[in-house]
């Protein structure tokens, strides 16, 4: 177990700068998720920690030791790849024991560790099989098994669930989280899927364009996004955001007055409200129903006010149909105001 510290990390590929001085401290045993759209630099950051990419500037320390010039194999890390990267000519047992074999561990030790990992991951029936004889989920578990037999200081996951189907992804998500709770190994996990990030992380670093936009606990990010990017990225369905102007303690937008606290009189703002905080009511702001998506426990209604589309999430069922007129009641306690120019939270 170990801490990880990124200090002012810069990465350039040729003349293109993909990371602009990223700093991040990860505590011992913490599960940190790097999340962001593709091309934001999250995988690059992880690969630099793994020693698979050179560091252009700044430093990375594992357990207080700067590892900039340390070989991957001497960093005491284990990585799970999106493509599994299992050795196709080795059985599951050999795949999992490979790192120990390279360390010249005794065979009894290797067998013991592999057996233990196989037990944790329910891989015992498959130890003699080859990767090609396994399903996607099993392969991914073998990849995780290969990581845990090492008992490394840090686990690195690079989009490990992206190749799995939706149902398996949910199951593996829970497995990885359970594994972390059991082993308590410091983990850095990269994904573009904000739901994975929300459900698994102790803390999330939302990245965009080579910078960390916000770092915090999942619900803190959800409840208090620091800027427009985080507000739009975190949460599914995404937050409703539209232009408005602060007037007399409220925001005038879409031809109506929306409850708000803060902002200077006359300030141009982006008004944000999550779909579940915008409920249909007997009276309020009028809107027209465009699409109704019943999901059983809740119903998602796509409504429009003029040209602006708003997503409304309501618990239970809805009797509204396309073309119906409904009234929206925004929760005044859950308003997110952002400066229209800087995009920063007000």
């Amino acid at each position: 177990m170990a801490t990880v510290a990124f200090r002012e990390i810069v990465k350039e590929f040729g003349r293109t700068r993909v990371l602009h001085g990223v700093s991040l401290d990860i505590a011992d045993g913490e599960f940190v998720v790097l999340v962001g759209p593709s091309g934001c630099g999250k995988s690059t950051l992880l690969r630099m920690l793994a020693g698979l990419e050179d560091i252009t500037g700044g430093s990375i320390a594992i357990d207080g030791r700067v590892v900039n010039d340390v070989d991957s194999k001497d960093r005491d890390i284990a990585m799970v790849f999106q493509s599994y990267a299992l050795y196709p000519h080795m059985t599951v047992r050999e795949n999992m024991g490979f790192s120990l074999r390279l360390r010249n561990e005794r065979q009894t030790v290797i067998d013991g560790r592999v057996a233990q990992a196989a037990k944790i991951l329910n891989l015992e029936p498959y130890l003699a099989r080859y990767p090609r004889e396994l399903s996607g989920g099993q392969r991914q578990r073998v990849a995780m098994g290969r990581a845990i037999v090492r008992d490394p200081k840090v686990f690195l996951f690079d989009e490990p669930l992206s190749n799995l189907d939706a149902k398996l992804r949910v199951a593996m998500r829970a497995e990885i989280k359970a594994l972390h709770q059991r082993l308590k190994t410091t983990t850095v996990y990269v994904t573009h899927d904000q739901i994975e990030a929300m459900t698994m992380a102790d803390r999330i670093a939302v990245m965009n364009d080579g910078r960390i936009e916000q770092l915090g606990r999942p619900l803190d990010l959800y409840d208090r996004p620091a800027n427009l990017f985080v507000a739009q990225f975190i949460g599914s369905p995404a937050m409703n955001i539209f232009d408005g102007v602060v007037r007399a303690g409220a925001v005038e937008a879409l031809g109506a007055r929306w409850p708000a606290a803060g902002g200077a009189e006359g300030q141009r703002v982006k008004y944000g409200m999550r779909p579940e905080h915008l409920e249909p009511a007997a009276s309020g702001i009028a809107a027209e129903v465009v699409v109704v998506e019943p999901m059983g426990a809740e119903t998602e209604i796509l409504a429009s006010i003029g040209e602006t589309r708003l997503t409304v999430m309501t618990r239970g069922r809805s009797s509204a149909g396309p073309g119906d007129r409904i009234f929206l009641a925004p929760h005044s306690a859950h308003v997110h105001l952002f400066d229209a120019q800087s995009g920063l939270r007000i």
């Binding site: 793994a50 020693g51 698979l52 070989d71 991957s72 194999k73 890390i77 284990a78 990585m79 790849f81 999106q82 493509s83 599994y84 990267a85 299992l86 050795y87 196709p88 000519h89 490979f98 790192s99 390279l102 360390r103 080859y130 990767p131 090609r132 004889e133 396994l134 996607g136 392969r139 290969r146 090492r150 190749n163």
Partner: protein
């Protein structure tokens, strides 16, 4: 079947049948000669009146003037072909690994140079090669032919293996590095096992190239005991009255090993070993 399909099928047959005849007739000719007696060899019939296997006995027992060193020469052929195959494979594998997986500097230049060698016909190099071998005192040694064959086969072998290496998932190297593998361990434990089909293909290629070589063998080796059988066969033609039936019997025997090698290694020619490595 639509008329268009029928047409394309017909075209295929139209090309295929002549090619088949073109390929098989000489082989049948060799076979026909080899089972004919000396008198009936030129009878012009499609099947001899009295087919015989005596010619093969003559060859195996070295009972003809031109065949006094038959076993020695076929052993030379085997030795030279295997050595050329093994050496080419070793050189090309190391080169491809270094260029494709370790990304050493100058790799591109090596690849371009390898391709460039094919602008020069092998025959042009015969005289310089002869001179070089003479300088090293290798003339009349089987090694001279082995080295010449390796020189000729390596560029293509490197090219092919580099392409095959590039297809191996890069993540495997990264996973191995993180697992603690040194480059040598990566080469031995991950790269080589996955390259087996390509290695066999390259080994076979170089082996057959050396097995079938005549020009360089004729130039570099001249002693009865060092020449391969290909050159030995050529000696048959040095007299006015060549024993064609025995020449063809020997040729048929000489043609067997390549056919056998193709048959044995055919399953390696198809890939599929990397299935399951990564999601594709």
């Amino acid at each position: 079947m639509t008329s268009r399909k029928l047409l394309s099928e017909a075209k295929l047959w139209l090309v295929g049948i002549p090619v088949l005849i073109w390929t098989l007739v000489p082989i049948y000719h060799i076979f026909l000669f080899s089972i004919s007696t000396k008198d009936s060899a030129f009878s012009g019939r499609l099947w001899p009146d009295h087919p015989t296997l005596r010619n093969f006995g003559t060859v195996f027992r070295q009972e003809h003037f031109y065949l006094h060193h038959f076993w020695h020469q076929i052993w030379n052929s085997v030795w030279i072909a295997c050595a050329a195959g093994a050496l080419t494979m070793a050189i090309a594998t190391c080169a491809a690994f270094a260029i494709s997986r370790l990304k050493v500097r100058g790799g591109r230049a090596v690849m371009n140079a390898a391709l460039f060698t094919y602008f020069i016909p092998a025959a042009f190099l015969a005289v310089p090669m002869y001179k070089a071998m003479g300088n090293y005192g290798l003339l009349n040694s089987r090694w001279s032919l082995v080295l010449a064959m390796v020189t000729i086969a390596s560029p293509y072998a490197i090219w092919v293996l580099k392409q095959a290496s590039d297809k191996l998932p890069w993540e495997l190297d990264e996973a191995a590095r993180i697992d603690g593998a040194t480059p040598v361990q990566l080469f031995r434990l991950v790269y080589l096992p996955l390259m087996v089909p390509s290695l066999v293909a390259i080994f076979t290629y170089a082996l057959l190239l050396a097995w079938n070589e005549y020009l360089y063998a004729f130039l570099l080796l001249s002693h009865e005991n060092t020449i391969p059988l290909a050159v030995g066969l050529g000696h048959f033609l040095s007299s006015d009255d060549s024993p064609w039936e025995i020449l063809m019997a020997t040729a048929l025997i000489y043609g067997m090993p390549p056919a056998a090698i193709y048959y044995v290694f055919r399953r390696y020619m198809v890939g599929g070993l990397t299935a399951g490595a990564v999601k594709s």
